[in-house]
């Protein structure tokens, strides 16, 4: 039982973060809080992928040049999730920047960032 918890608890933490972000996106009324929920969701997915690439007893994936022909892949952690998540982080920054500028435009036009007031102003 302890072995089961110790080998899986990192996935549980990230699932809890996903649930927090998901609830924030759906249930909050303020548009800025919805945006913060989306950001939490995005970063928790990135953390989840990075945690997949670890190996027990492995070290940082920078190869020591002194042991050139005898390099074993089991000594180093997996570099692929780190590489793919670098791209994902930059895409997340771009998405957040554009979403914030859209919020500024909505505030200029309607004078509020509450969702129900904007919907009422749209119905008129």
């Amino acid at each position: 039982m302890t072995d089961f918890i110790l080998s899986k608890y990192n996935y549980w933490i990230y699932v809890i973060l996903i649930m927090i972000g998901f609830y924030g996106m759906m249930a909050k009324n303020n548009l800025m809080k919805k945006l913060i929920g989306m950001t939490i969701f995005q970063w928790s997915i990135i953390l989840f992928y990075i945690s997949i690439g670890s190996k027990k007893g492995g070290t940082v994936p920078i190869i020591d040049p002194s042991l050139h022909p005898a390099i074993r892949a089991v000594d180093y952690i997996n570099p692929l999730p780190h590489v793919l998540m670098l791209t994902a982080i930059v895409v997340g920054v771009a998405t957040t920047g554009i979403a914030l500028s859209l919020l500024i435009l909505i505030y200029r036009k309607y004078g509020t960032v509450e969702e129900d007031e904007i919907l009422e102003a749209l119905k008129k």
Partner: protein
Amino acid sequence: MNKLAALLVTLMVGGLLFYSTAFFPKWGDPKQPGSMHVSPRYIEKTLAETKVPNAVTSVLADYRGYDTMFETSVIFTAGIAVMMLLRRPS
């Protein structure tokens, strides 16, 4: 939508995700399927084919350089989009 329905949906999605973590590999397993197919080739050949000891930089810039080029163009497009949205003469 009201907060009770949102809470129920979140708990259902969370329950499904918790159930699916039973099928995931153990944390830190050296033989998990993510580290078995192409990643050992990158680690073993990066010093011989490109004289760069850092495996992350060599995969990012050489083996997967095409993805990095489009990702640079994505951030460039985001900068242009924010300029176009906000800098209007009013």
